[in-house]
């Protein structure tokens, strides 16, 4: 069972087994691949959808970076792509805002929430806890198809005559409520809200499933304190989503009422487009509270799964137990808890009571402590390891680097006094693109490279992975480090161009440089795309456990069939991080190996279990 037998023969056989499986289960193509209830297929569906959205979101960022890097240039060559949004070679300023808005929405929700949690929670939870499938395969299927409908609506909104939503991904009313104020707040915003409502349904269906599965369906012997950190992180992510997303749904509903049914939850005393509106008594700040009550946990929904993924990959490839397993769980619990009480640090200068500001500054800066503990633990895991730099490991080490670089500036932004100057400048843009944008993307790449063999039964091409990694890693720093300088200089976000201000009429070269770096880094992602699709069909065949890892998913056949394990479910005896244990013949002991078989390496307190 412990799959140390890595040979070509085994490989071919499991290929055959899989083939037999296909005949055993009499499923039509549609049942098997489209309306599938198998968690592995659903995970792949989320992954492909996430990749699709990432390409769209990335392309959008290249477009608006072109405008920022070359404000004087004419973009007639974009006319075939953008049509009327390019007027005489100039990007329409409202379309620019729409691009920024959609880039944020797509990346945060569709790629880094659905694409990330949807892929890895679905794929890994049953496989790593030794379950045949999710608690409810049907709900799981619904979760994907709700997401799919949300995606279709959001995608359609891009092609509307009046453009997609354009008031920023945070859709603050009144701007998002008044089509007179910006054309994107017409049909585009309606579709944004409908799409997000469906998206939230999808997240809740998924979240309920992840939580239920982790609590109820762990295999024999797998207590919570023996869970891989990946499962802990997915579990906490699902809890966050379940508590936070309904609040966004309520905000969206109230906004729909204000937009369509004449209520005044967020609107008051408005004179716009030559007309005084009748709305009275509403508060735009209320929307911000509701939005950020989701919005802040949301950034942890994005980053927590990658904490787990990266911990797992670093331990496996450093051939060392993760340092401070319980501290890692504790810090994740702390972060998850605190993430609910820091939302108003996005609102220090929104006009809310300054006393609230001081409370939220205190709570925000506390989060730095568990985050620091995680970083120190990752670094300690590398110490005296025996590191194998697979592409997944490269991305994981870089993840730690990006998490530090982006995280430390959070200490500045979380300080309400300093936030006065830096709020809504490029300093914020640089901060969150490093810490939750790039770092989460790196975690996601690491996960794809690492679990690709289990997903598709083949290996990704390593050399291309290295190339992809190095260009991306260098590119990301070249893009986002200089943005801090621009932010310190006070450059505001979401500006079409800064040339109208003498104060901001500098750093022109820097912006051009950032744009060039961004386009190169984006282009490098096509190495990944090629590698990904090429390897699905023509990659080197994988073995059962190519990384010599301990967790249960590597005890399944190369292409796990429906039900995951052909025989009985594995039984768990130990924690997942017995790497390089002194006295053991191999440098890893999978979780399903009983202590009775490893007497040479058992620690004193483990003798009782023999």
């Amino acid at each position: 069972m412990s799959s140390t037998d890595i040979s070509l023969h085994k490989d071919v056989h499991s290929g055959h087994d899989d083939h037999h499986d296909d005949h055993d289960h009499d499923q039509s193509f549609i049942e098997k691949y489209i309306f599938s209830q198998d968690h592995k297929i659903i995970a792949k569906q989320f992954l492909f959808a996430g990749i699709f959205w990432a390409i769209i979101g990335g392309t959008m960022s290249s477009l608006f970076r072109l405008q920022l890097g070359f404000p004087e240039a004419t973009f007639t060559f974009l006319e075939p792509l953008l049509g009327k949004w390019v007027e005489g070679g100039k990007l329409n300023p409202e379309f620019y805002l729409a691009l920024v808005t959609m880039h944020g929405t797509i990346m945060v929700f569709f790629v880094l929430t659905a694409g990330l949690s949807g892929t890895f929670s679905n794929f890994l939870i049953p496989l790593q806890i030794g379950a045949r499938d999710m608690a409810s395969g049907f709900m799981n299927m619904l979760s994907f198809w709700f997401f799919f409908i949300a995606s279709v609506i959001m995608f359609y909104s891009i092609f509307l005559e009046t453009g997609p939503a354009a008031g920023g991904w945070t859709v603050y009313p009144p701007l998002s409520a008044l089509p007179q104020a910006i054309s994107g707040s017409g049909a585009g915003m309606t579709m944004w809200l409908v799409s997000m409502a469906l998206f939230i349904v999808s997240q809740l269906l998924g979240g309920v499933n992840y939580i239920t599965t982790v609590i109820n369906m762990r295999t024999r012997g797998l207590s919570m304190t023996k869970l891989p950190l990946t499962i802990w992180s997915f579990f906490l992510t699902a809890v966050l989503g379940l508590l936070a997303f309904p609040v966004l749904l309520s905000a969206a509903l109230l906004l729909i009422f204000d937009r369509s049914f004449g209520t005044s939850f967020f609107l008051s005393d408005i004179y716009v487009a030559g007309e005084a509106l009748t709305h009275t008594g509403g508060s735009p700040v209320l929307f911000q509270h509701l939005f950020w009550f989701l919005g802040h946990p949301e950034v942890y929904i994005v980053i927590l799964p990658t904490f787990g993924i990266v911990s797992e990959i670093i331990a496996t490839n450093a051939r060392k137990p993760i340092f401070g397993y319980r501290a890692m769980i504790g810090s994740m619990l702390g972060i998850a808890l605190l993430s609910f009480v820091v939302w108003a640090h996005h609102m220090f200068v929104s006009g809310m009571n300054p006393f609230l500001g001081s409370v939220f500054m205190f709570l925000t800066l506390i989060i730095a402590v568990p985050s620091a503990v995680k970083v120190f633990n990752w670094i300690a895991t590398l110490w005296r390891g025996n590191i194998n730099f697979t592409p997944a490991m490269l991305f994981s080490v870089a993840f730690v680097s990006l998490f530090i670089s982006g995280g430390v500036t959070g200490i500045i932004l979380g300080n309400s006094a300093l936030d006065i100057q830096l709020h809504d400048t490029y300093f914020v843009v640089a901060h969150f693109h490093l810490v939750m944008g790039s770092a989460a993307f790196f975690g996601m790449f690491a996960g794809v490279y690492h679990w690709f063999p289990k997903m598709f039964g083949r290996m990704m091409e390593e050399k291309l992975g290295y190339l992809h990694f190095w260009i991306t890693f260098i590119g990301v720093y070249l893009i986002f480090m200089p943005m801090h300088y621009i932010g310190i200089a006070g450059f505001p976000r979401r500006y079409y161009t800064w040339t109208g201000f003498d104060t901001f009429n500098k750093f022109m070269d820097m912006n051009t440089f950032i744009t060039v770096a961004a386009i190169i880094a984006f282009a490098a992602q096509f190495f990944f795309l090629f590698n990904f699709f090429y390897s699905i069909f023509r990659g080197r065949r994988a073995t059962e456990n190519p990384w010599k890892s301990n967790t249960l998913e590597w005890t399944t056949p190369v292409n796990p069939g429906h039900g995951n394990w052909p025989g009985p479910l594995p039984v768990v005896y130990r924690w997942p991080y017995d790497y390089s244990k002194p006295g053991a013949p191999e440098d890893f002991i999978p979780q399903n190996v009983p202590f009775s078989q490893t007497q040479s390496s058992n620690l004193p307190h483990e003798r009782d279990f023999e």
Binding site: V397, V408, Y485
Partner: protein, 355 residues
């Protein structure tokens, strides 16, 4: 035609790249290195981390120093000095952590790269270390929180009674300012009273409104060395008042007036000589996305010596809203036209020189 040629050459390029890739794969299979467990690449990648650290670290230091002059805006308010010193102190703290953790991260990655026959050190946990590196960040954070609290409390404390009051109102897409006049009280406004001439929606029947007057459309004036209280509001969507040189920022929210007070320490003229830029102007920018013209919502702020300011106020005081609006009452339309043209001037972003 050219598009087709470009597309064709891109396709050809991709095909060539693909063939090179296939040749490389086939060659490595032939050499037998394709299946090697941990090969030379591991050493290369480990070394590249060190190279990355040195080169990118060097670039970072160089670019930071190079950008320093452009990056640091001269500060012109009292609390701005406190904010700046706290900013650079925090930067030093996080800079230290940043450098230290990166040295360890990349050094360990290089030093503990895979070596044949070596085994990693089984070291699952050490509670003492965990406690140490929990407590140290906690203490540092506590210190930062306390100093942050002190500064924040000072900045957000109620404005002194002698503060000069200026109302700043945001609208799509320009800023308008209003002064309370001799009584130091701003008159009532209602959004239902807004029209093309009465842009503030001023209630002309209100006693306090009688002596209110507007700042010039291209710039508004404040005195140096005296507390200035900005009463901020918006009449359509959320805007945000940002005075970068004064470290001032506060959202303008429809239906919910906000305030921010500060003490300017340098007049426009002093800043012109300090920066060596004779055309220097303090600018007010919008930092909350508000629509198409968000990037062009600019208003200049002129800081005068108190005596100059007083002179300006006296000149301006004659042009109260009441006199302007009543002049342009129904029958007489010329004043309305004049008001409209000033509105247009406010919309344009041409800086108006003070002299």
């Amino acid at each position: 035609m050219i598009t087709i040629a470009v597309a064709l050459s891109i396709i050809l390029l991709l095909v060539i790249l693909y063939l090179l890739f296939r040749i490389q794969v086939l060659a490595s299979i032939f050499k037998g290195s394709y299946r090697a467990d941990i090969g030379k690449s591991n050493k290369v990648n480990a070394a590249l981390f060190i190279a990355f650290f040195l080169i990118m670290g060097g670039l970072f230091v160089w670019s930071f120093l190079d950008a320093q002059d452009d990056m640091i805006l001269p500060v012109a308010s009292e609390h701005g000095i406190a904010i700046d010193s706290m900013f650079w102190l925090t930067m030093a703290v996080i800079g230290f952590v940043f450098v230290l953790t990166h040295i360890l991260l990349f050094l360990y990655s290089y030093k503990y790269q895979h070596q044949e026959g070596k085994r990693a050190f089984y070291y699952p946990h050490n509670n003492k270390i965990e406690i140490i590196w929990t407590v140290i960040p906690a203490v540092v954070m506590a210190l930062l929180v306390f100093s942050g609290w002190k500064t924040w409390a000072k900045i957000t404390s109620p404005a002194p009674d002698n503060a000069v009051v200026v109302e700043v109102m945001g609208k799509q897409f320009n800023w308008l300012t209003r002064y309370p006049g001799a009584d130091n009280k701003l008159g009532l406004v209602k959004h239902t009273l807004i029209d093309a001439t009465n842009e503030f929606g001023l209630d002309l029947t209100d006693q306090n409104a009688q002596d209110d007057f507007a700042g010039e459309p291209s710039a508004f004036h404040v005195p140096k060395g005296v507390p200035v209280l900005l009463k901020i509001r918006s009449r359509d969507v959320i805007h945000s008042v940002f005075l970068p040189h004064f470290r001032v920022k506060m959202d303008a929210v429809p239906g919910m007036p906000t305030t921010f007070w500060f003490i300017p320490t340098k007049t426009t003229a002093e800043m012109q000589s300090e920066t060596g830029n004779a055309n220097f102007q303090y600018e007010l920018a919008c930092t909350e996305v508000c629509g198409r013209g968000h990037f062009a919502m600019k208003l200049n702020m002129i800081v005068d010596e108190p005596e100059e300011y007083q002179k300006w106020v006296e000149a301006q005081q004659k042009k109260t809203f009441v006199s302007q609006l009543q002049q342009g009452a129904p029958a007489d339309s010329t004043a309305a036209v004049a008001m409209n043209s000033t509105t247009d001037a406010a919309g344009a972003t041409t800086p108006a020189p003070k002299q």
